[in-house]
Point group: C2
Chain length 298, copies 2
Amino acid sequence: MRTAIADNYPTRGRTVCSSTTRRDPAVWGDATSGPLSQSEVAEYDRRGYHRTESLVPTADVFHLVDEMSRLAADEDLRDDECVVREHGTGDVRSVFDVHLLSPVVDEIVRRPEIADMARQILGSDVYIHQSRLNYKPGFTGGPFYWHSDFETWHAEDGMPAPRAASISIALTENYGYNGGLMIMPGSHREWVSCAGETPENYYRESLVTGTPPTGSPDQATLTSMANKYGIDMMTGSSGSAFLFDSNAIHGSNGNITPFPRSNLFIVFNSVENTLVEPFSAPSPRPTYLGSRDFSPLR
Amino acid sequence: MRTAIADNYPTRGRTVCSSTTRRDPAVWGDATSGPLSQSEVAEYDRRGYHRTESLVPTADVFHLVDEMSRLAADEDLRDDECVVREHGTGDVRSVFDVHLLSPVVDEIVRRPEIADMARQILGSDVYIHQSRLNYKPGFTGGPFYWHSDFETWHAEDGMPAPRAASISIALTENYGYNGGLMIMPGSHREWVSCAGETPENYYRESLVTGTPPTGSPDQATLTSMANKYGIDMMTGSSGSAFLFDSNAIHGSNGNITPFPRSNLFIVFNSVENTLVEPFSAPSPRPTYLGSRDFSPLR
């Protein structure tokens, strides 16, 4: 079940990890019109991310937190795969497809200050590849190991090129010590082919444990990249947001502090980069992880 | 096997956690002479810690790192309890009694810029209650849950009062994202009586797992304290140091970054606060955890 189109980003099915320069740009099109200034676009190109303070007003942050609680308690979704729970406690860790399940989320993600930023960077119309509300509790929040999202989306969902960007909107303060996102600035320009095979239905395991060995660069590669690029912490108040390149290497530590961490996470993919068959997995992941509805967002 | 002297800091052997204001001062004596200025002493009194940049020169940091490697590989110490290893990998996580095992450490801890700081805060001569070199590896470094050191030293070692201070000297850079120390500034003035009993030989478990439920405040208390005091991260270059009060609530997150974190940790106790029998444990911990040699440091 392999695709016929060229695989410019081979990964998995190999015994060692290797790096090359990424073939495609991070900023597509001319990027002259949109919410970002030209210097902000240039910085996104260089670092692989852009930070916006107060992107979502406080009242909407409250609405989003309420939506998370409502969806987590929704009886109709109790056994739905789009609700991911912690092993042991059964507490809800993520709810996927929130742009379809929640009118509040649906309205917010279409706002020009959000969707136009993605269109500007990706140089085309966009659609939503994935959406989720995440909740990392205080005291017991687990780590999420280093990875490139695009590596997974390419291997397991069939996304041809890294012409996608994610926005993470903070619903609680990210202090730097409560398990926030860490990113290696500049790492998005490097393509790391990862070792290992993709097990059948691997997503069920990798979403919960948070430490996927398959699809993550090995320790030698991560050490070399951390020394080369350094690590930036994505700190900020609730309502602030990070837009970041799909191929940026990122991860997060666990959280023993009492302060939980929640965010709304939306992946925009270019309508010129729609999914084909997975490049390194037996079958595509479910659509709540990799949407097959490629209608442009309006 | 209980002591006859008054227990001003009751803890454990109870079902709920409770807080009171600490009876004793954090700064003892007149504290007018020593390495710290009067404003630094006042800030230590208020926050429960003092930070010094470049306390140990770089050459000595290298010597201390070498000592850690030498002691970790020492065949004579292979089965010694003072070498604490990770479950699973067997990698060395801590070496205790390093002021006795290493002439390098012994010389450094006696330096006036280090020992006099402890004498100034504690208002008397001091001796070393505990010393250790710690190594928290990159990628897999585990968390260390919130606790007051004095709570353990009182309950399990028989230290009468919180007239002790610890110095943590960084041997690698503490970035804020590689599992460094977090402290609740001001928490040292509050005494938290913790719930639960002390199991026999509890130290063997608590030193390795890093998440001791016994001897830690409960989640409601920690949440209230974190909201009241906030959390400070102990970041700094190698060679920088933190002196902190024995009763300050502190902990550390795990570390998925490639950057390991090592430090030299020395506990100074006042010679007027020497150990008696444990206040809440069947028998005292071994002397590498709570020394019974009370000779003043010279």
